[in-house]
C-alpha cells in the first residue's frame, strides 16, 4: 500500500473505532436522557402553579405510581391551616428506646424497604451525659438497658432552619404552620441541605425507593409521604398528610409509653402547651440558633 492510501485507511479505521467508542460510552447517558419525563422536566415551582396545573400534576403522580409500583394511590395537596402552628415534645423519662416510632415512620412515609430507612434515629445515651459522642444508634439488646436513657431525633422543624437557607433553588421551605417541606419535584439533589442540617434529619434517595405493592401506604401527601423519586432529598414533615387533617403523627400513635406529645402551639388548651408551660423543656444544640419546634423534657 502506498503512503497516502495507508494514511487514509488508518484514518477511516480510527474514525470508525472512535465513533464506536463514543456510541458505546455515551449509551447510558442517552438512555437516561430518553427516560426523562418532559412534563416533569418543564413544570414550574410548586408556589407558581395554578390550581389546575397542580391537580394535573397530582393525577400524573398517581398514574406513575400505578405504573411503577402497581398500586392505586391517592396523592393530595393539603394546605396548612390558619391559626395552627405545630410543636412536638418528647418525654425522655418515658422513652424506653424501643424504636416503634422509627418503624411506624418507615411504613407511614413509604420509605425504601431494603435500607430500612426512617426519619427517626433513636440514640442510646449514657446516664449523666448529654454528649452524643457517648451515645449510639446501633444498640442491639433488650431495652431499656441499665445506665442508659434514650433520645429519638427527627427533624426539629427549625424556625431558623439552616437547610432552608442553603437550598439554591428554594426546593425546601417553611410552611405557615411551621413545617419545613421539600418539593421532591423541584429538588436538584445537591444535598447542600443535608450538609447544613445539624440534626441528621435529611435523607437522600440514593436510588428509587423499593416497596412491595401491598406495603405501600396509599394515602399520600404531595409534600409529605408520596413515594419519592430517585435523586432527591426527603425529610420528616410531622406527617402533614395526617396532622393537617386533625390526626396525630404516626410516630406518636405507635409509641407504647406515651412519651410523645404533639399539638397546636397556638391553642392554649393543647397538651403541647401544657408541657411547654409546666415542664422543664430544652432543645437540642440550642447554641446553634436554629430555634427548633421539637422539645425534650424529663418528668422526674
Amino acid at each position: 500500500m502506498s503512503g497516502p492510501t495507508r494514511r487514509v485507511a488508518l484514518k477511516v479505521v480510527g474514525a470508525t473505532l472512535g465513533a464506536g467508542a463514543f456510541a458505546y460510552a455515551g449509551r447510558p447517558v442517552a438512555q437516561w436522557a430518553a427516560s426523562v419525563d418532559i412534563d416533569d422536566l418543564l413544570r414550574r415551582h410548586y408556589k407558581e402553579l395554578t390550581a389546575d396545573e397542580l391537580a394535573q400534576i397530582l393525577r400524573r403522580i398517581e398514574d406513575e405510581t400505578q405504573k411503577k409500583y402497581g398500586v392505586e394511590v391517592r396523592v393530595e395537596d393539603i394546605p396548612a391551616q390558619d391559626g395552627v402552628s405545630f410543636g412536638y415534645a418528647l418525654n425522655l423519662s418515658l422513652c424506653i428506646g424501643c424504636r416503634k416510632c422509627a418503624e411506624a415512620c418507615h411504613h407511614e412515609n413509604n420509605h425504601d424497604r431494603p435500607t430500612n430507612n426512617s426519619y427517626i434515629r433513636v440514640l442510646e445515651m449514657q446516664q449523666g451525659s448529654f454528649d452524643m459522642e457517648h451515645g449510639t444508634v446501633d444498640y442491639d439488646h433488650a431495652v431499656p438497658a441499665p445506665g442508659k436513657y434514650y433520645m429519638p431525633v427527627q427533624c426539629h422543624q427549625c424556625d431558623n432552619a439552616p437547610c432552608v437557607k442553603v437550598c439554591p433553588v428554594e426546593a425546601t421551605w417553611k410552611e405557615k404552620d411551621g413545617i419545613v417541606v421539600v418539593d421532591y419535584s423541584w429538588c436538584i439533589g445537591c444535598r447542600y441541605c443535608e450538609a447544613a442540617c445539624p440534626y441528621h434529619a435529611r435523607r437522600f434517595n440514593w436510588r428509587a425507593p423499593e416497596i412491595p405493592a401491598d406495603e405501600i401506604n396509599p394515602d399520600q401527601g404531595y409534600l409529605s409521604n408520596r413515594i419519592r423519586p430517585q435523586g432527591v432529598v426527603e425529610k420528616c414533615t410531622f406527617c402533614l398528610h395526617r396532622t393537617r387533617k386533625g390526626l396525630l403523627p404516626a410516630c406518636l400513635e405507635a409509641c407504647p409509653t406515651g412519651a410523645r406529645v404533639f399539638g397546636n402551639l397556638l391553642d392554649p388548651a393543647s397538651s403541647i402547651r401544657y408541657v411547654l408551660e409546666h415542664k422543664r423543656v430544652y432543645v437540642l444544640k440550642e447554641e446553634l440558633g436554629t430555634r427548633p419546634r421539637f422539645f425534650y423534657f424529663f418528668d422526674k
Binding site: A25, G26, V166, C167, P168, I188, G189, G231, K285
Partner: protein
C-alpha cells in the same frame, strides 16, 4: 517550532467585515485544534478515552442513582465535591500570574500571562463538571438559572458560587478571546477592551475561592468547617496549587517550543510558593492547636482525621501523606539546589500540588461529615464509579487546556494570523 504557519485561503480582500473576520478567526482556531503531530493525537486520544470512561460511569450513575457511589446520608458529599473544591483553588490560583503581570508590571510575566487565563478557563470547566456529577437530578439544572428557575439569592451561598464561577469563566473567556483575536488580526489590543476586565478578574478570582469557602464555613452544624480560618486557608492553598501547576506547565510549553520566554515568571511563581507553603503550614498548625488543646466537638473530627477514632482510620493515610508532601515541598523550595536545578523545582511543585489536592479534597470535605451531626462515625472511601467519573472530568479539563494552549499560543505568537494582518514586529503586533 514544528507547525507551519496556517494561511487563510483564499487570500482575503484588504478590509473584511468584522463579523466575517471573526468567523474566520473561529474556523482557524477550530482547524488548529484538530491538526498536530502524532504526539498531539496520541495525547488527545488517551484523554478522550479517559473522558469516555468517565462519561460511561456517569451514565450508570444517572440510571441507577447515586447508590453507585459510596456516599451515604452520613457522608453526603465525597470525592466529587472534594475535587470541585480543589478545582476552584486551581482556577483562583492562576491569578498569581495576572497580579504580577498587570499590577506590578512584570514584563516577563506579561509574555506568558495568557497561559494563566487559559488555565483558569479549563479549571472552571472542571469545577462545573464536578458539580454536575454530584447532582442527583442534573435534568433539573435549569432550576438554578437566575431569572429562569428559582434562584435563592442572596440567601444561599451556592447561588453566590454559581455567579462567581460562571462570572469568572466569562471574564476569562473574554480576556483570552479578545487578546487572541487582536493578535490574529495583527492589531494592538485596546486597553479599555480588556484592562478593566483584567482588574475585575483579580478581585473575582479571590471571590470565587472565598465564596466556595463560605459554602462550608457558614454551616454551624459542622464544627470542622465552621472556622473563620477556612477562607484564608483556601486562598493560601489556591496560591500553592495554582503556581505549582503553572510552573510545570511553563516547562512543558517551553519544551514544546511553542513559546520562548525568560526565567522570570518561573522565579516569581517560585517566590510566591515559598511564602504560601509556609503560610498554609502555619495556619494548619494553628487549627490543630485550637482543636486539640481545647478538645470538644471541633477536636472530634480532627482526631478522626489525623489519628482515627472508634477504631476507624480511613482518612489517616490520606492526611499524613498530604502533610508529608506539604512539608517536603516547603523544604525543597528553600533548598539552594532548587534554585539551580529544574528537576528539584519540578519535584517540589509536584509534591505541593498533590499535597494540596489531598489535604483540600479528601482531607477537608470528608472530616466535615465524620463524626456526623449525631456523632456517628461512618466512614467513606470512593467507589470505582466515583474514580471513573473523577478521572473523566479531569481528562476533559486537560483536553480543554491542551486545545486552548495549542490554539492560544499559535495566535499569541502570530503563527495563525488573518491574511490581511500586518506582519509581526519583534514578537508583537
Amino acid at each position: 517550532m514544528a507547525d507551519p504557519v496556517d494561511t487563510v485561503a483564499p487570500p482575503a480582500p484588504p478590509s473584511l467585515a468584522p463579523g466575517l473576520t471573526y468567523l474566520r478567526f473561529l474556523s482557524a482556531a477550530l482547524r488548529r485544534s484538530f491538526s498536530g503531530s502524532w504526539r498531539f493525537y496520541a495525547w488527545m486520544t488517551v484523554l478522550t478515552a479517559i473522558a469516555l470512561v468517565g462519561l460511561n460511569g456517569w451514565g450508570h450513575q444517572l440510571q441507577q442513582g447515586m447508590q453507585v457511589t459510596r456516599m451515604s446520608d452520613h457522608v453526603s458529599w465525597g470525592l466529587y465535591i472534594a475535587n470541585f473544591t480543589f478545582g476552584v483553588g486551581l482556577a483562583a490560583g492562576a491569578v498569581m500570574m495576572v497580579i504580577p503581570a498587570y499590577l506590578y508590571d512584570d514584563h516577563d510575566m506579561h509574555d506568558v500571562v495568557i497561559i494563566g487565563e487559559l488555565l483558569a478557563i479549563a479549571a472552571i470547566a472542571v469545577c462545573i463538571g464536578f458539580i454536575v456529577a454530584d447532582m442527583g437530578r442534573p435534568d433539573r439544572m435549569w432550576h438554578i438559572l437566575p431569572g429562569i428557575g428559582r434562584f435563592h439569592w442572596p440567601v444561599s451561598m451556592l447561588t453566590w458560587d454559581v455567579l462567581a464561577l460562571n462570572g469568572y469563566l466569562l471574564i476569562n473567556l473574554h480576556i483570552a478571546g479578545y487578546l487572541m483575536y487582536q493578535r490574529y488580526r495583527g492589531k494592538a489590543p485596546r486597553k479599555r477592551w480588556y484592562l478593566p476586565f483584567v482588574f475585575l478578574s483579580i478581585g473575582w478570582a479571590i471571590s470565587i475561592h472565598t465564596v466556595t469557602a463560605f459554602l462550608y464555613q457558614g454551616l454551624g452544624g459542622r464544627p470542622f468547617w465552621n472556622s473563620a480560618l477556612l477562607a484564608p486557608r483556601f486562598l493560601a492553598t489556591a496560591f500553592i496549587s495554582g503556581p505549582a501547576f503553572v510552573i510545570v506547565l511553563l516547562h512543558v510549553v517551553r519544551w514544546s517550543g511553542r513559546l520562548t520566554f525568560g526565567d522570570g515568571p518561573i522565579r516569581t511563581l517560585t517566590s510566591i510558593m515559598r511564602v504560601t507553603v509556609l503560610l498554609n503550614l502555619f495556619m494548619l498548625m494553628s487549627e490543630l492547636f485550637t482543636a486539640l488543646y481545647t478538645g470538644g466537638a471541633h477536636a472530634a473530627a480532627v482526631k478522626y482525621l489525623f489519628f482515627g477514632s472508634h477504631g476507624k482510620h480511613a482518612l489517616v493515610p490520606y492526611i499524613w501523606t498530604a502533610v508529608t508532601l506539604n512539608v517536603t515541598s516547603a523544604v525543597l523550595l528553600f533548598l539552594p539546589r532548587t534554585r539551580v536545578d529544574r528537576r528539584w523545582l519540578l519535584a517540589a511543585c509536584a509534591c505541593a500540588f498533590v499535597g494540596v489536592y489531598i489535604e483540600k479534597g479528601m482531607g477537608l470535605i470528608i472530616p466535615g461529615f465524620v463524626p456526623s451531626t449525631l456523632h456517628e462515625v461512618v466512614e467513606y472511601t470512593p467507589s470505582i464509579t466515583e474514580w471513573k467519573v473523577t478521572a473523566g472530568v479531569w481528562a476533559l479539563g486537560l483536553l480543554i487546556l491542551t486545545v486552548a494552549l495549542k490554539v492560544g499560543l499559535a495566535m499569541w505568537t502570530g503563527k495563525v494570523r488573518a491574511a490581511d494582518a500586518p506582519p509581526m514586529v519583534d514578537g508583537a503586533p
